[in-house]
Amino acid sequence: MSGLTYLEAVREALREELERDRRVFLIGEDLGAYGGAFKITQGFQERYGMHRVVDTPISELGIVGAAVGAALMGLRPVAEMQFMDFVSCAFDPLVNWAAKCRYRWGKGVPLVVRGPAGGGTTGGPFHGQNVESYFANVAGLKLVSAATARDAKGLLKAAIRDEDPVLFFEYKALYRRPDLREEMPPGDHVVPLGLADVKREGRDLTVVTWGTTLHPCLEAARRLERDGVSVEVVDLRTLVPWDRETVVTSARKTAKVLVAHEAPTLGGFGGEVAAAIQEEAFEWLDAPVRRLGAPSTPIPFAPSLEQAFLPDAARIEAALRDLHAY
């Protein structure tokens, strides 16, 4: 198999940015000597040194606080959360420092906090969460979610170059999936933030999604196609700022929209997308905008429970068929 896995694409993005700009450095737990919990930064410390691959005590609050200070001084810290679940421990420096410095006193905080999010690996309640919507209500942060290897590389490079603080969600369920290997575009592959991507064009229905859920959405679209139903699959890629234009254009075209994501439906970012569609495409719609997310419970551990929790291809397919029949 040729091309890079999702995980290798993340590694390549980090390596290229470390090579390109001396201001860029990595900071987090077990990054250096150990090579990172998922071995993304294996060999990096030998190559770039201890000052550019900083091993820290177990202290997400300290890591992100220090990243804020370094970014204020003009460096470009890329902080790793061993699992994105742990970003809850670093809430304050993100929402009160990183997000607000530019508005409060004109100083940008160009940092990236990245790490593996999402379910599908039986990680249980603390190694499988999707926390993006906690942060969507905080003006000043950008939220990025990569669902493919190419996007992981291109979006991460854009995030590192961005002048604002970016939370970058990777998905451990996708890290090593062989079917997601992709050739990277040649040269400096950067995917601008704020642009959705139509991963599959369609006429009859639209499903808007991001992250791991893209893949069951594509699977559901393939199944519906066999019955002559054409589904457009829009991958949001950036949640803040999100690409209303692409979503609204698709909604006006197909007139029936489902928003699907892994996080619980209640308070999930899908609600924002659905609200915007009804504001801007109401006259074009032939059905209410539907949402499909997880139930309002923590994400459970056992495979059977986790499967029942996460929106899978079968449930997405059923929701789409229901919408089609409306």
Binding site: D21, R22, R23, F25, G49, M50, H51, R52, V54, T56, P57, S59, E60, L61, G62, I63, G65, A66, A67, V68, G69, A70, A71, L72, M73, G74, L75, P77, D92, P93, N96, W97, K100, C101, R102, Y103, R104, W105, G106, K107, G108, A139, G140, K142, D162, E163, D164, P241
Partner: protein
């Protein structure tokens, strides 16, 4: 270590400005001209002034709420603080922020970090500032402030521990003023004092009389030098007393009259004034003239602040993300940094920086405490507690 004569007078002058500005703010508050709370540092002026005065020009300062004097030492005009308290659009944050929540960082790395309310967070942010100073090869340190209460937070612990592990050029000054809002220190921690707590991080620790501005100055100087030798961070506990309530609304009934009297006898301005006279550094006439001059200057600054424009409601949005128009940019503050690091932005090559970072780990393997035992508590101060 005693500061040169002109600096001994300078230290007194900045404390005087600090106190006069606060007195003026108190009057403006009574006239209903301030918005929000007034947080004074009455009795603690020596700490902000002494520590900021001891810094190098290229150092970075991370203040807390009671280091008002540091803003004046670092070159900010009193009118900026007064405008902040009055929520003026012409102020340094165009009405977006309160009290001393403003600052500036220059591309060359000098500056003062605008604090936020969340206690303890300044220390973890300043850990990153100090990391960047070393990374860029700047021969500079960061001085961050904490209170006895703020030191209980997780952010303090995680930030300071990381700084200690990394041997960063960070001086943390802990003002032990006996209370955090209405909570005395014995409900804040069980150890004897902040110095005892700091010793556990494995860094050099000092303790000074926080009402003696020259002692604070000298301790900060020494701490700074330890940091520049690569042996930081350093924790400096400054023993002091908050002579008014937490903010204007707090009558501080929880403090005994005797205790206040004992500390009033050790007022930092009176102490320094007397010392300048006793040691023949200044005459009564010199000081009286200076006091008049400062009072007139502060009054003029307040007039200027009063005349400043209110914020334009249209400026509520903007400046959240890069590239958006911002009233701060319009006001002409040059604080965006360009795309590429200009030549000379890094002052040392990567190999030199790497060897400095690596040295403590290479030399000694895992553990190299280099603990400097902290000085015994001054008896006089101890008795008063």
């Amino acid at each position: 270590m005693t500061p040169p004569p002109e600096d001994r007078i300078g230290l007194y002058r900045f404390m005087l400005i600090t106190r006069d500005v606060e007195e003026r703010l108190g009057i403006l508050a009574k006239q209903g001209k301030l918005k929000g709370g007034l947080y004074r540092c009455l009795g603690q002026e020596a700490i902000g002034v002494g520590s900021a005065y001891a810094m190098g020009e290229n150092d970075v300062f991370g203040p807390g709420i009671r280091e008002l004097g540091a803003f004046f030492v670092r070159g900010y005009a009193p009118r900026l603080v007064i405008m902040q308290y009055m929520a003026k659009g012409g102020g340094p944050t165009a009405g977006r922020e309160t009290n001393v929540h403003f600052g500036e960082l220059h591309p060359d790395g000098r500056g003062l970090i605008s604090p936020i309310s969340m206690l303890g967070s300044m220390v973890s942010v300043c850990t990153g500032v100090a990391l960047a100073q070393r990374y860029r090869g700047l021969d500079a340190v960061t001085v961050a402030h904490t209170g006895d209460g703020a030191m209980s937070t997780g952010q303090f612990y995680e930030g300071f521990n990381l700084a200690c592990v990394q041997r960063l050029p960070l001086v943390v000054i802990g003002s032990n003023n006996g209370w955090a809002y209405g909570t005395p220190t014995n409900r804040q921690f069980r150890a004897r004092d902040l110095a005892a707590r700091a010793a556990g991080y494995g860094c050099p620790v000092m303790q000074v009389d926080g009402n003696d501005v020259e002692a604070v100055w000298a301790a900060t100087r020494e701490a700074r030098e330890i940091c520049l030798r690569g042996q930081g961070p350093v924790f400096v506990e400054a023993l002091t007393m908050r002579m008014v309530g937490h903010a204007a609304h707090d009558d501080a009934k929880y403090v005994s009259r005797e205790m206040l009297e004992a500390w009033r006898a050790r007022d930092p301005l009176a102490l320094q004034r007397q010392r300048l006279l006793d040691e023949g550094v200044a005459t009564q006439a010199d000081l009286a003239a200076m006091e008049d001059e400062v009072q007139a200057m502060v009054l003029a600054e307040a007039e200027a602040a009063l005349a400043a424009p209110e914020p334009d409601p249209a400026t509520v949005i903007g400046g959240v993300y890069h590239g958006e128009p911002s009233p701060l940019a319009v006001a002409g503050y040059p604080w965006t940094h360009g795309e590429a690091a200009p030549d000379g932005w890094f002052r040392q090559d990567a190999a030199t920086v790497e060897s400095r970072v690596r040295a403590p780990f290479d030399d000694t393997g895992l553990w190299n405490p280099e603990v400097v035992p902290y000085a015994p508590v001054r008896a006089a101060v101890e008795d008063e507690r």
